[in-house]
Symmetry: C2
Subunit: 210 residues, 2 copies
């Protein structure tokens, strides 16, 4: 599993000329970092003196942030698998008519998977953004900046995932699926941008204007 | 070294209630991911048929992106050290007048280090953004989305570092340093926002409108 590599090795692998891991895996790691920081805010706040009223809310947020973190961590490897599957399909033989038709079918199937993978990452990141907002509202002031970093990480991951949707969409034969995927990612982008800026502004206000 | 932990362990440590690693380390990792993705675009482009004209530029970008990646990777641990130093200063005895004065001096010194650390991270991320732009302009089209992910990661890291500057600035006694640090981070934020959006738009255009 790619997430069993050290951070140093992961960065080296990202920097290398090998096609994977690439931006898709980086996006999933960023999203998972966002979820982890939300969990951190909850963990610090739960049981904190003066924050008793936030206890139930922070526990509820933590359950969700840990669940979405697990999904995002699994996507780091899933993105590599989707990319490798697509490359394998492109390498299929294309001599006979039968070859060509089988290859085209395999490409379409794998393009669909390589579009669904970042789309799923973007959906998970949108959840992290909503959770970061709840953490920023109720969390312990001493770690409120971590809710801010969490929302920024999740938003960068969502936009990164969008780029990975855009790569594959033009090649899809199924234009209905292509349109649905594009419409969904656009909606996620629009909504998350405003929400992220609201959380960033809230955190910045709580830190006090310098 | 914290970056010798696995990605899974790093995420677990981030999520835990322990104060470090926190948002500062997450920011440095995001910045390093951005630099690594820029290097990847260079590595794939160098020697690519049809991209001979970009060779020298991509080699020059890679030298810089690898250098800034090393700096950012080192900051992951440096941020933990700065935070731990500050916490240790706050825990110093404060009984006698001499204690109090020694403690105040140690806090000021460590607050300054804890402000310079994210400021340095933000400077490095601004360099990554400029390098991602060059990679997006000249890089191989097949990995151009990775330049886009790189710029988003670096920008999220820069804004995260800014939050970590804002945390410490209000407590600084040296208001001249506080003003200089604030002015520099504001300038980095302003400039990087426009530059990031320009790179994102360029990458999106190159991917073709869906």
């Amino acid at each position: 599993m790619i997430t069993e590599r050290t951070v140093d090795t992961f960065l080296d692998d990202l920097a290398s000329g090998a096609p994977t891991p690439g931006g898709g895996s980086a996006a999933a790691v960023m999203g998972a970092m966002g979820a982890a920081l939300v969990s951190m805010v909850c963990n610090v706040t739960i049981g904190k003196k003066g924050y008793e009223a936030a206890d139930a809310e922070m526990k509820s947020v933590r359950t969700e942030s840990e669940s979405v973190r697990r999904r995002l961590t699994a996507m780091v490897a899933a993105d590599v698998a989707a990319f490798d599957g697509l490359m394998a399909a492109y390498r299929l033989p294309k001599q006979s008519e039968e070859d060509k038709s089988r290859r085209a079918e395999a490409i379409e199937l794998n393009l669909r998977a390589a579009t669904e993978s970042p789309l799923d990452c973007a959906r998970a990141c949108a959840e992290v953004i909503a959770l970061a907002k709840r953490a920023a509202v109720c969390g312990y002031l001493g770690v409120i900046s971590d809710a801010g970093v969490g929302v920024l990480a999740a938003h960068a991951a969502l936009r990164s995932a969008a780029l990975n949707v855009y790569i594959n969409v033009p090649s899809l034969k199924d234009r209905t699926f292509a349109s649905l995927a594009t419409a969904e990612i656009e909606k996620l982008l629009d909504h998350s941008a405003a929400e992220t800026e609201a959380v960033f502004a809230l955190v910045r206000d709580k830190l006090g204007k310098p």
